[in-house]
Amino acid sequence: MKRYILNRLFQFIPLLIGMTFISFLIIQLSPGDYFTQLKMNPEISPETIEKMRKVFGLDKNIVVQYFYWLKNVFTFNLGVSFSYHVPVSYLIKIRLKNTISLSIFSIFLTWIISIPLGIYGAIKNKRWEEKILSFIAYIGISIPSFFLAMLFIFFISKTAILPLGGTTSIFYKGATPFERFIDYLKHLLVPGLILTLSGIGSLYRLMKNNFLEAINSPYIFTAYAKGIPTWKIYFKHALRNAINPMITIFGYELSGILSGAGLVEIITGWPGMGRLVLEGVLSFDLYLVMASLLIGGILLILGNLFADILLALVDPRVRFK
C-alpha cells in the first residue's frame, strides 16, 4: 500500500509538467496577448509595450518561456499578474479561502442529502414516493445552474431574506468573531444552496441506481435465505456495495473544488477563484491562468489518488491485487 502511494506520487510530477506544458502552449499559441489590447491605446507608445514585454519575458521563444515559468514554480514563485500588478500567489490566497469554503459547503450538503434520498428511492422503487423523487431529480438535472442562480437572485432580491454579493456585510468591522462567522455563512448560503440544488439530482440518480443494482444482486438473495432481517441486508450488504462506485465520483468531485463553482460565483457575485480565473482568461493574464490550471491539476491528481486509496480501503478486491 505504501509503495503504491509513493509510486503514484512519483507519477505526479511528470504528469503535472506535461499538463502545464500543453496548457502553456495552447494559451501562448492563440493570437494576441495582454499587451495587444494596450496597443489600441494611443497614449502608450509601441516602445513602452515592447519594454514591458521584455520585462515579463514574453519576447522569448515559447518553450523557453515555459521553462522560465517552470523554474519559478519550483521556487514557489507563480509570477505576477498583468492586470492586477501583484503576485499571482497573493491574488489566489485571498480568493482561495472563499472558493474552498463554498465548494466544501455545497459538496457536503449535496452528498448528505442525495445519498439517503438515493437509498430511499431505491427501496421504494416504482412506487409513488420514488416516482415523485425521480421527477424532481429530472427537473433538477434539466435546469442549468446559472439559470437556477438567476431564479434564486430574483427570489432573494424580492424577499431580502439573505444578503447577496460579496462575503461580508457593512457592519463586519465592528462585529465579534462569532457574528462575523454567522455573517460569512449567510453570504455563503445563496451560492452554496444553488450549487447544492443543481448537484443533488444527478447524485441522487447515481446512488439510486447503484443501490438498486446492489439489492437485486445474487448475494442479497443469499442474505435473505440466511434469514437476516431486511434492514441489515440493506445497510450492511447492499449499502457497502452501492457506495463503492460513488467513491470514484467523490474523487472527481474533489478536483472540481476550485473550478466547479465558477459560473455560480460570477452570477452571485461571490469573490472566488472561478471569477478571478475567468476574468484572467478573458484578459490574457497568462500567469494567473497558469497558476489556476496548476492548482486544478494538482487537485485532480490528488482527488483521484484519494479516491483510489479510499476504494482500496473498502474493497478487498482492489486491496489484494
Binding site: S217, T222, A225, K236, V314, P316
Partner: protein, 316 residues
C-alpha cells in the same frame, strides 16, 4: 422416519402466468430428493417457494406448505426469517456471485448464527464447520475472490449449515464447477446427511447425477411434476414419455459417432402454455385428450406419473 416437508397442491404465479401448477410432494427425514428437468421448468422457483422468497411479481396462489408440521404458507415475513437459515439452508449455482464480495467468509457465515453467543464462541463454531467442509481455518479471514469455485461452494455450504438446519435446498450447486470439484461437493453432501440430521432437495438438470446422489427423483416439466419415484426405478424404467426422452439424451447411452436423439422442440414458455398436458406438443404418443386436459397423478407401484398413457383415459 417422519415427514419434514409436505407440499400440497401449490400453485405459484400471478394473474397472467402460472409458473408452478399443482405441485405436491413430501420430503422425509434424511432423504435426498432430486428435482430434474430442463432449464425454465420451474425447478428453482420450487425451491424459492419453500422458503417463500419468490420474485416480486410471483405469489403462492393456492395450496399449502407444511414444514415440520407447521403451515408456513400462513407465516409472516418476520416469522419466516426465523426459519430461513435456521431450519432451512440454501446453496446456489454460482457461489462467486452469491457471496458478498466485500465481506470475509468468516463474517458472512457468522452473521447467520441465530443464538446470541459471544464473538469468540461464534468464531470457534465457524472455524469448526469450515474444517468440517474440508477448508482450512484461514478461509475465515479470506474474501470470496481469494477462493476457488469449489472452495467458495464449500463455504456456501458451511454458511447454509451453520445453524444445523434440517433441510438443505441446493439449487444446481455443481453446475458451475468442473467434474472433479463437483464430485467433491457431491460426496461432501452425501456425508453431511449422515452426520447432520439433514434432508436435501437437490435441483439439477443432470439425471444421472440425480440417480447417483438421491433417494427419489422428481421430474419437472413446465411447472408440473410429471414423474415421481425412487431414483433407480425412474432412471432404469422411466414411465413418462418426457423422462424416457430425457434419459435417451444422455451421452453414456450412445457409442462413439452415434447421433444422440435430442428432444424435438423446446420447453413452452410460461406465457404460452398448451391447454392440456404441457408435454403434448413434443410428445410422440399423444392422444386427443392430451391436448385438452392436464393428466392427473396416477399411482403405479412406488411411482406417481402424470400421463394419460397409464390408467383408462384413452377412451374418454
Amino acid at each position: 422416519m417422519g415427514k419434514i416437508l409436505e407440499i400440497k397442491n401449490v400453485v405459484v404465479g400471478n394473474e397472467e402466468i402460472k409458473i408452478l401448477r399443482d405441485i405436491s410432494f413430501e420430503v422425509e427425514e434424511r432423504e435426498i430428493i432430486s428435482i430434474v428437468g430442463e432449464s425454465g421448468c420451474g425447478k428453482s422457483i420450487t425451491l424459492r417457494t419453500i422458503i417463500k422468497l419468490l420474485p416480486q411479481n410471483l405469489n403462492i396462489l393456492s395450496g399449502k406448505i407444511f414444514f415440520e408440521g407447521l403451515e408456513i404458507t400462513k407465516l409472516k415475513e418476520k416469522e419466516m426469517q426465523n426459519i430461513r437459515g435456521k431450519k432451512i439452508g440454501m446453496i446456489f449455482q454460482e457461489p462467486s456471485s452469491f457471496l458478498n464480495p466485500l465481506f470475509t467468509i468468516g463474517n458472512q457465515i457468522e452473521e447467520g448464527i441465530n443464538e446470541k453467543v459471544e464473538k469468540d464462541k461464534k468464531k470457534e463454531r465457524v472455524i469448526k464447520i469450515l474444517e468440517e467442509m474440508g477448508l482450512s481455518y484461514n478461509v475465515y479471514y479470506q474474501y470470496p475472490h481469494q477462493l476457488s469455485g469449489g472452495m467458495q461452494q464449500r463455504a456456501m455450504i458451511a454458511m447454509a449449515l451453520i445453524n444445523n438446519p434440517v433441510l438443505l435446498l441446493a439449487d444446481e450447486p455443481t453446475t458451475a464447477l468442473d467434474v472433479t470439484t463437483a464430485f467433491g461437493i457431491i460426496s461432501l453432501l452425501k456425508n453431511l446427511i449422515l452426520i447432520h440430521n439433514l434432508s436435501i432437495i437437490f435441483v439439477t438438470h443432470d439425471i444421472s447425477l440425480a440417480k447417483y446422489l438421491s433417494d427419489r427423483i422428481f421430474v419437472m416439466y413446465a411447472g408440473i411434476i410429471v414423474e415421481k419415484g425412487p431414483s433407480i426405478e425412474v432412471y432404469n424404467s422411466p414411465l413418462h414419455p418426457y423422462t424416457q426422452k430425457l434419459i435417451n439424451c444422455l451421452p453414456e447411452k450412445y457409442n462413439k459417432g452415434e447421433k444422440i436423439k435430442t428432444i424435438e422442440g423446446e420447453v413452452p414458455s410460461f406465457k404460452n402454455l398448451p391447454l392440456g398436458c404441457p408435454f403434448s406438443p413434443r410428445c410422440e404418443i399423444k392422444n386427443k385428450i392430451c391436448e385438452k386436459r392436464i393428466p392427473p397423478e396416477i399411482k403405479i407401484g412406488n411411482r406417481i406419473v402424470r400421463c394419460f398413457k397409464y390408467g383408462n383415459f384413452m377412451e374418454s
